[in-house]
C-alpha cells in the first residue's frame, strides 16, 4: 500500500513535496538499489544484485540504474531511450508497482531501498528487459489506423480533408496519448492469466478509433474485440488506469467500448460515413 500511496502523492500534488525532499538531502544521500538479474540463456533462477548509489533531489530511478551500470556493473540490462516519459521503454516494477523508471523520482519513494524488477506479464529477455512481442501483436490486431471507405487515400487527387471540432477530438484524444509502455498490461490481472486477452492498452486503442468520427469501421472493430478471449475478460479491476503514466485511463476506454457492444452508448459518435460523404461532394 505504501508504494500505491506514493503513486497517489505524485498524481495529486503538482508541486514538490518539499519537506520530504529536504529530509532526503539531509539524511539519504545514498540509496540501496536491488536489481533483478537473470539471463534466461544461462541462468536457471534469478537473483538480486545490490548497489549503493548516491542520489540528489532530482535523481530518478533510471538515473540511479544508469549510475550503477556505468560505475558498478556494466552488465545490467535496461531498456530506455528518451528519459522523459515519452518513448515508453523504461517500464519496470519498482517496489512492487509497474512504473516508468525515468518518471519516478527516488525522493517520491518511501525508505531507501529500491527494488527494480522486470514488468510482470512480459517474458524476460534479460534482467529488467521484457519481450513486448505479444503486447505489440495485440496492439496491431486492433488495426490502429483510420478506416474510411469514402476517402481514397491512394489517389492523391481525390484526397479530402477530415474536419473535426475540438469536441470531436476530445472524444479520443486521451487514448491517443498512449506511449505503449506496457505498464497497464503488466498491472492487469486478466492479462496475467490469459495471453490471448488483448489487454488494456490494445482495447483502449480499439475504443480510440471507435470514438474517432473520421473512422467508419465501428462494426468490424467491435467484431475484433467481441470474442471468447476478448473484451469480456475485463473485470474492471481498474489497475491499468492506476498505473498509466500518461492519463490514458484505459479502463474508461474499455468500459465505453463495452457500452457500444451492448448498445448503451452508441450516440457518442457521429457517423463518419455521412460526414465524409458530404465532404467528398464539396
Amino acid at each position: 500500500m505504501t508504494a500505491l500511496l506514493s503513486i497517489k502523492t505524485r498524481r495529486t500534488k503538482l508541486g514538490h513535496d518539499e519537506k520530504k525532499e529536504s529530509t532526503l538531502e539531509d539524511s539519504r544521500k545514498v540509496v540501496h538499489l536491488r536489481v533483478y538479474r537473470k539471463n534466461p540463456k544461462q541462468d536457471k533462477s534469478s537473483h538480486f544484485d545490490k548497489f549503493e548509489v548516491p542520489v540528489q533531489r532530482w535523481t530518478t530511478v533510471l538515473d540511479a540504474l544508469l549510475h550503477a551500470k556505468e560505475y558498478l556493473d556494466k552488465s545490467i540490462a535496461i531498456r530506455y531511450s528518451c528519459r522523459m516519459a515519452s518513448c515508453g521503454s523504461c517500464g519496470m516494477k519498482i517496489n512492487g508497482i509497474p512504473r516508468l523508471a525515468c518518471y519516478t523520482k527516488i525522493s517520491e519513494i518511501d525508505g531507501n531501498i529500491i527494488t527494480c524488477e522486470p514488468l510482470p506479464n512480459f517474458p524476460v529477455i534479460r534482467d529488467l528487459v521484457g519481450d513486448f512481442s505479444d503486447f505489440f501483436d495485440h496492439h496491431g490486431a486492433m488495426e490502429p489506423f483510420i478506416h474510411n471507405q469514402n476517402v481514397d487515400i491512394i489517389d492523391k487527387n481525390r484526397l479530402t480533408e477530415f474536419i473535426q471540432t475540438p469536441e470531436d477530438v476530445e472524444n479520443y484524444l486521451q487514448f491517443s496519448y498512449c506511449i505503449k509502455c506496457g505498464l497497464c498490461y503488466s498491472a492487469c490481472p486478466s492479462v496475467g492469466s490469459d495471453t490471448r486477452f488483448p489487454g488494456p492498452q490494445a482495447l483502449a486503442q480499439a475504443y480510440r478509433y471507435v470514438a474517432d468520427n473520421r473512422d467508419d469501421a465501428t462494426q468490424s472493430r467491435l467484431n475484433i474485440v467481441d470474442n471468447k478471449h476478448g473484451i469480456w475478460r475485463c473485470h474492471f479491476a481498474g489497475s491499468c488506469s492506476v498505473v498509466c503514466p500518461k492519463g490514458v485511463d484505459p479502463a474508461l476506454g474499455i468500459q465505453l467500448l463495452r457500452g457500444h457492444l451492448v448498445n448503451f452508448s452508441k450516440n457518442d459518435k457521429k457517423l463518419a460515413e455521412s460526414r465524409t460523404r458530404d465532404l467528398g461532394k464539396t
Binding site: 505479444d134 492479462v191 489497475s239 500518461k246 479502463a251 467500448l257
Partner: protein
C-alpha cells in the same frame, strides 16, 4: 500480423513466462479499491456457487421424508451453522449490491467522459461516485450480517 515464435528473442519461447497467473487475483492489495472489488466479487461469487450446490443438496433431502429434512435443518442450528449462514448473508448482500454497481460501470455508465488529460493525470473512471458503490456494498453486507447475527443468536 503475428510474430512467430522464431522471431522472439527470449530463450524458451514460452509466452506465459513471468506472467502473474492466479497470483494477480490472490493479491488484491496493490492497486486500490477497484482491485479489491474485483477480488471480492469473484471470491463471493465462487462462495455463493458452492453454497447453492450445498443448498440444492440440503433441500433435496425433503424427498427422503420429514426426518431427513429435519436432520438437515439441525445442521444450521449449531453455532458453526449460524456462522456459516451469516457468511451467506454477507456474501450474497455484497455480491448483489456490488454486482449492480458493476452492471453499470462495466457498460460505461457513471465513469465520466474522456477529456483533455492534464498532469497530474487522475483517471476519471476511478472516480468516487462509482468507488463509493463498493463501500456501500460493504456497509450493506456488514449491516445485514449484524442483523442476521442478532436474529440467529437471539435464542441462545
Amino acid at each position: 500480423m503475428k510474430s512467430s515464435n522464431e522471431d522472439r528473442i527470449y530463450s524458451d519461447g514460452n509466452r506465459r513466462e513471468n506472467h502473474e497467473g492466479l497470483k494477480a487475483w490472490l493479491n488484491p492489495s496493490r492497486y486500490g479499491w477497484e482491485r479489491i472489488s474485483y477480488w471480492l466479487q469473484r471470491l463471493t461469487g465462487v462462495f455463493l456457487l458452492i453454497y447453492f450446490v450445498g443448498h440444492v443438496i440440503e433441500t433435496s433431502s425433503l424427498v427422503d421424508g420429514k426426518d431427513a429434512w429435519n436432520a438437515m435443518l439441525e445442521l444450521t442450528q449449531t453455532t458453526w451453522g449460524h456462522l456459516f449462514l451469516i457468511l451467506v448473508i454477507g456474501t450474497s448482500t455484497f455480491h448483489s449490491a456490488n454486482g449492480i454497481r458493476l452492471l453499470f460501470t462495466e457498460t460505461g455508465r457513471g465513469l465520466g467522459k474522456p477529456g483533455r488529460p492534464d498532469y497530474p493525470y487522475s483517471p476519471v473512471s476511478l472516480n468516487y461516485r462509482q468507488k463509493s458503490g463498493i463501500w456501500i456494498a460493504l456497509i450493506l453486507a456488514a449491516t445485514a450480517m449484524l442483523y442476521g447475527a442478532s436474529i440467529l443468536f437471539a435464542g441462545e
